[in-house]
Symmetry: C2
Subunit: 440 residues, 2 copies
């Protein structure tokens, strides 16, 4: 689908962040790149960007971005960029003969909103606008937002000064070329060259639809306060990872988000972060093996810290659009090595204390149980997800495992820690074998 992006304005309220608003980096990624990448995720592949203020630097950036992402980006010049935004939309008239997405360079959003717009069946002459019905959305600047009054799925009125309203304009549209006629007719009749004016005109003809955004994230990044809200909202988004266990959710994740927020400003890659986390685990294992309570304690803390860092790779990847199959796989493999080293270090510590064969055997069972738990999780989820609809039962993730090791080291009970891990990991593996057999 084609996608028109308006990036012509000056955005003077955000000038503390950079001279050209579309190029202001948020977690290292310019705003317009975020908009384009999210639109690509939603299914757009051919872009038209109306530029005005500072258009040379924007065009140079877009040209490189197009090559980097392998998509088409056509810049369109609007010399009248200081006037209303409807004029910017009109400049694209000759390029867009079928339905297209219409987005703003400074409106960030969750791609699921735009995917909903892309999938909408529009009849000729219609447009549709993503409308936020959450009247207490804390990301919205109530003094600046455009308000919308809807009835059912139709927009009744739109404007910044609307008194009677039940939604907010997200700036995310899907349009038929009828929007161009509406802009012209509106300008001729009232002299209003704003996009809202044209939408109001189509609304009066029953041709402007309101699409509920279902509470998904969007934000108009207009000033430094909104910029900070956007940063916080994107970060908060990381908390929602479905697979997070309790330790990850309540201990590791808040800390890793705090760290990721600093890391995104550097050029360190997610895979490098995975590797650093692994090296910290090996360091912790070495401290375990060294013997003595101080080294054991320090190893426990560093092992837990490595587990926190282990959350940052995925966070940074998602914030900087650097997720990859390979990255996930590398992380999984390094996690298995890290677990094995930690448990072997702990086994060595307990073994040196006791010099018993039993300790070695329990340590071996702990290593192999941890591994089997991860191994079966993979196959269990993959093969059995179709057959077993119910919950996944006890989910002993890596977050819990490393936390138990941390506690065991700090409390100076390495052998009992190994025994606990050996018993729980192997029992859960056996439970999975039974559950899968009964449902297989």
């Amino acid at each position: 689908m084609k996608c028109l992006i308006i990036a012509a304005g000056k955005g003077h309220r955000l000038r503390s962040k950079g001279d050209s608003k579309p190029l202001v980096p948020l977690f290292g990624i310019p705003l317009i790149e975020r908009v384009i990448r999210c639109a690509v995720e939603a299914g757009a592949d051919d872009f038209f960007v109306v530029t005005g203020y500072q258009r040379e630097s924007v065009c140079v950036f877009l040209d490189r971005l197009a090559k980097r992402l392998g998509i088409g980006i056509t810049p369109i010049v609007n010399e009248d960029w200081e006037k209303e935004n409807g004029l910017s939309v009109l400049k694209a008239r000759d390029y867009l003969r079928e339905p297209f997405l219409l987005l703003m360079a400074d409106h960030l959003f969750n791609s699921s909103i735009v995917r909903k717009l892309v999938e909408l069946p529009l009849t000729d002459g219609e447009i549709a606008l993503g409308v936020d019905r959450n009247m207490s959305n804390s990301l919205i600047d109530l003094e600046d937002v455009t308000r919308v009054r809807t009835e059912g799925e139709k927009i009744q009125d739109i404007g910044k000064n609307l008194k009677d309203y039940n939604g907010f304009d997200t700036g995310l549209f899907v349009c038929t070329p009828a929007i161009f006629d509406a802009l012209e007719r509106c300008a001729e009749a009232t002299g209003d060259t704003s996009l809202s004016g044209a939408v109001r005109r189509l609304a009066s003809e029953g041709l402007a639809n309101a699409i509920d955004i279902d509470g998904q994230f969007w934000i108009d990044v207009d000033d430094p306060e909104a910029f900070e809200r956007a940063e916080n909202a994107l970060m908060a988004n990381m908390r929602g990872k479905v697979n997070d266990g309790p330790v990850a959710r309540f201990l590791n994740r808040p800390l890793s988000i705090w760290i990721s927020r600093r890391l995104v400003n550097y050029s360190i890659t997610p895979n490098q972060i995975s590797l650093v986390s692994f090296l910290f685990s090996v360091l912790a294992a070495g401290l375990f093996a060294l013997g003595g309570y101080f080294a054991l304690f320090l190893g426990g803390v560093i092992g837990q810290f490595a587990s926190v860092i282990d959350g940052c790779d995925g966070e940074v990847a998602r914030l900087k659009f650097q997720t990859s199959d390979y990255g996930k796989w590398l992380d999984a493999v390094l996690d298995r090595y890290a677990d094995a080293f930690l448990l072997f270090g702990l086994t060595w510590h307990a073994h040196a204390d006791r010099t018993e064969g039993l300790v070695l055997f329990v340590g071996f069972l702990a290593i192999i149980g941890s591994f089997l738990l991860s191994y079966t999780a993979d196959k269990y989820d993959h093969l059995m997800s179709r057959q077993i609809r119910q919950g996944r039962g006890l989910r002993i993730g890596r977050d819990i495992r490393v936390f138990i090791i941390f506690l065991g080291a700090v409390l100076h009970i390495p052998f009992w820690t190994l025994l606990l891990i050996a018993v729980t990991m192997n029992l859960e593996t056996i439970r999975r074998l039974i559950v899968c057999r009964d449902h297989g």
Copy 2:
């Protein structure tokens, strides 16, 4: 698709194997069940079976089979079962108004042949016969087989006494109801009530197509010699497993097939075989840990034997139509446990000999490397198969790993064996990480 199976004849030449030919068990599964299961695999779901000789016992069996497999099986009686087989086909006339498969209860086949027939677009009035063009097929009884002469894709003539021929009749057909008219017309005109007669008639009208079976397995199980050939051929089929490593292919597989051939006659399930193999591995590990060369030697032999048995579960499953996702998964999990136990046993043995920390660490690396190799194989194949088209590089499978352990035990060099496994398994894991990164 509907499927008609002719199971009316007496099959007196096979009476040494059982009184009712369709019920003669081959590797524990009656011939007609094999035919029906392969047809189900090829896409058939509604069966009509013409019975004659011993029809009560055949009908009782089919009734139970239908419930067991959740398919429809309608028995049709042919009182004239001692006459030509065309009369059996005619009995089904009222049941079959659209194209249908026509199979013989005593003709076994690879389901890919029938799948090819199912997918054939037939025009009204046509039939198609699977034709074997391999003139030196050793599974064929040249004195009894029906011969075919074809030109391009059309059958020119068919009969047992054909002098000029270039293919063999497999007894696997897909027919339109035109076959019934052809049978009647042929009987009226010449008195010939055989199926071949009707095919000859359609051939003369250019309506009988020959479908090349591409060298796939089929056999007419007519007498004890053919029965034995069928057993050997099904067994030989097991050798072709794509994933077999060199040790599996040249050492384990021939032995496991020899054992499976005995096992199929008992009611032991594939999962039970997996468990027995695992227990043998644990026994071998225990012997390793016991210390002393005799126990080490015996453990090596038993460990290798467990690896041989580990091939039988899949073989028995495939021969008895008992393959399942769960079975494959259980086998993979038990293999990981077995590997870990074997390596821990060997580590213990080497450790007791040397009482050095280095031995423990190398043993640990061997365990974790073996695990990672299997873990990455799974993810590597799954995630990367789309991206990496070339070969899989060095494939160090479980067959090689267990064989190295066997050699190390027999040669009494446990430490160097562990070192070899630790180095190769971890290096190959690292190689996979690099290959995937470069192609990711």
